[in-house]
């Protein structure tokens, strides 16, 4: 169990910086999520921590020791890949034992540890099968068992749930979290799925263009975004952004409600909201429209209870509580704090 830290880490491919001067430090036993759209550098960052990719510059520390230039074996990291990367010609037992064989652990000890890992993940019934005879969820458990069996210092997971269907994914997410809590190993988890990130991460590092845009708890990232990228990348539907000359105003769809619902002490700002379309989603209703006084192409979404009767094609008085408004610099997209 160790802390992972990277300092000024940069990786350049050709003339493109895939990871650009990143600083990041985990806490011990933490579930840290790297979240970002594809091509943002999150997998490259993970691969550098694993030792599969050498950084162009910067330093990597695991458990306080500098790891630059050392192979994965010495870093004592375990990694689960998106495709699970099980060895198709080996039985499950041999797959799980592979890291132990490479380490030169004796046969009796190998068997004991394989059995322990397999039981922990509930796959001890499949030990003699081959990967292709297993379902996606079972394969994922085998990959986890193979990662676990060496008792690594750090777990690195590269989108391990993205090959599962939606139903299985929710169950696998629970299992994975419970498993991580039980073994208590520092885990770095890469995903592009914000729901996964919000639900699983102790802390989330939101990445884009090779940089970390914001690093914080799911609550901080959601309600207190550092810039417009984070504001629109997190949340579904994303934060509404209204652009005026000297600032951008942002607010979450669920905070955008009829003005009549607010009390005096909320100090709500009022907007004239023209509703173009109302979408019924069972648990909520989404209202799509525009706000008077702002660019007509700026779509604004409100999330209201299903029983709210707000007709389409009309303009309504809507508001946002003062505490729920965020302001951003229109040029840089960075958050404006205080009374600016």
């Amino acid at each position: 169990m160790s802390v992972v830290e990277v300092r000024n880490l940069t990786k350049v491919f050709g003339d493109m910086a895939a990871v650009d001067d990143v600083d990041l430090a985990s806490r011990e036993g933490e579930f840290l999520v790297l979240l970002g759209p594809s091509g943002c550098g999150k997998t490259t960052l993970l691969r550098m921590i694993a030792g599969l990719e050498e950084p162009t510059s910067g330093e990597i520390f695991i458990g306080g020791e500098k790891m630059n230039g050392l192979p994965p074996r010495i870093r004592k990291v375990a990694m689960v890949f998106q495709s699970y990367a099980l060895y198709p010609h080996m039985t499950v037992a041999r797959n799980i034992a592979f890291p132990l064989r490479a380490e030169g652990v004796d046969k009796a000890e190998q068997d004991k540890r394989v059995r322990w890992a397999a039981e922990l993940l509930g796959i001890d019934r499949y030990l003699e099968r081959r990967p292709r005879q297993l379902s996606g969820g079972e394969r994922q458990r085998v990959a986890l068992a193979r990662a676990l069996v060496r008792e690594p210092n750090v777990f690195l997971l590269d989108e391990p749930l993205s090959n599962l269907d939606a139903k299985l994914r929710a169950a696998a997410r629970d299992d994975l979290l419970e498993f991580q809590r039980r073994v208590g190993i520092t885990t770095i988890y890469v995903t592009h799925d914000q729901v996964e990130a919000m639900g699983m991460g102790d802390r989330i590092a939101v990445m884009s263009d090779g940089r970390i845009r914001q690093f914080g708890t799911p609550e901080e990232i959601y309600s207190d975004p550092a810039d417009t990228f984070v504001a629109t990348f997190i949340g579904s539907p994303p934060m509404n952004l209204l652009r005026s000359e000297h600032r951008v105003v942002g607010f979450r769809p669920e905070n955008f409600r009829p003005i009549t619902e607010f009390a005096e002490r909320d100090m709500p700002s009022t907007f004239r909201f023209h509703v173009n379309r109302s979408e019924y989603l069972g648990s909520d209703r989404f209202l799509y429209g525009t706000v008077e006084g702002y660019d007509e192409n700026t779509k604004v979404i409100a999330r209201v209870p299903v029983n709210a009767s707000i007709p389409e094609g009309a303009t309504h008085e809507f508001g946002v509580a003062a505490a729920d408004l965020c302001y951003f610099d229109p040029r840089t997209g960075k958050r404006l704090r205080g009374d600016e």
């Binding site: 994965p72 010609h89 890291p99």
Partner: protein, 309 residues
């Protein structure tokens, strides 16, 4: 548009069926050229050869008189036939064993990143792109009994006095033929194995890195087992090329010295075409059939298994 107008519009616009829409006609039309080709150039000569093997036809007496097993008895009675049969098996086994080792090693090297890779790949592929006969003629010169450049180099290094006479001594001639065979097949096999190696997902290789496998463990426990089917295909191609080939022997040694390097294909050629005994030539060649049938069956099995995976 009213419903009626819409309906009429649909009716008039429906395209007419053409002959090409008939899958039956298309199938027949597509297959016919291939069938004619195979029957004329493979099927007919094959049947003719089988019939000839049971006859006493020669160039001088082209009438096809069936003599039962007499021709085959004569073929088997000739000690040169047995030597040719043994040589064919020995050549095939040794050269293909060498091919597997060299091609796998080459493929391992050629899939790595290094400077000038394209040049090395090109050089490796060259032997395969040269016509067999021309390549073998250049080997004939290289192994010349007096002017061999190999001898010259050995002499300059002080390792040799006089000449090796590569193709004039039975053992050396055998080894030379095997070496040239191997040299010829390795590029094709290396390309096949290389394709197999590139088909192994990078994540599998990364996983073995993470799991702490070094070069040897990764090569022998992960890569080679995963490539086994592909290496199998390469071997089958190599076996076909070496069992049926007569060019190398014909150009290098003409089966000599004194029939010592004769193989089935060359022996059939010398008997049947150069010696004019068509029946015995066909009878000799017929012994290639079991080997080739077995190899063909194996290739088909491999191909099917790949499909299932």
């Amino acid at each position: 548009m009213s419903d009626e107008a819409l309906a009429i519009g649909v009716r008039t616009q429906r395209p007419r069926r053409t002959l090409l829409d008939s899958e039956r006609l298309l199938a027949i039309g597509g297959l016919t050229p291939a069938v004619i080709y195979i029957v004329a150039l493979v099927g007919f000569p094959f049947v003719l050869a089988v019939v000839m093997a049971f006859s006493d036809v020669t160039v001088g007496d082209p009438s096809l008189d069936l003599v039962g097993l007499e021709t085959l008895r004569q073929v088997l009675a000739d000690p040169v036939f047995w030597r040719a049969l043994r040589n064919t098996l020995v050549f095939t086994l040794i050269s293909n064993a060498l091919v597997v080792i060299l091609a796998t090693a080459l493929a391992l090297i050629l899939t790595k990143d290094f400077k000038g890779k394209w040049l090395v790949r090109l050089l490796v592929l060259l032997p395969w792109t040269t016509p067999v006969s021309l390549a073998t003629i250049s080997w004939l010169w290289t192994l010349d009994s007096i002017f061999s450049p190999i001898d010259w180099v050995l002499r300059q290094l002080g390792m040799l006095e006089g000449n090796m006479i590569w193709l004039g001594q039975p053992k050396l001639a055998l080894a030379s033929v095997i070496a040239v065979h191997t040299w010829r097949i390795v590029p094709l096999a290396a390309v096949i194995v290389m394709a197999g190696m590139l088909a192994i997902p990078t994540e599998i290789r990364d996983a073995s890195d993470i799991d702490g496998a070094g070069f040897w463990r990764r090569t022998f426990e992960i890569e080679i087992p995963l490539m086994a089917p592909i290496i199998g295909v390469a071997v089958l191609f190599g076996v076909i090329l070496s069992v049926t080939d007569m060019t190398v022997v014909h150009v290098l040694t003409r089966g000599g010295p004194t029939n010592y390097t004769q193989v089935l294909a060359s022996w059939a050629f010398y008997k049947g075409i150069e010696g004019g005994d068509l029946a015995q030539g066909a009878g000799t060649a017929l012994f290639l059939l079991p080997v080739l049938v077995a190899v063909a069956a194996l290739i088909l099995r491999f191909a099917r298994r790949r499909e299932v995976l």
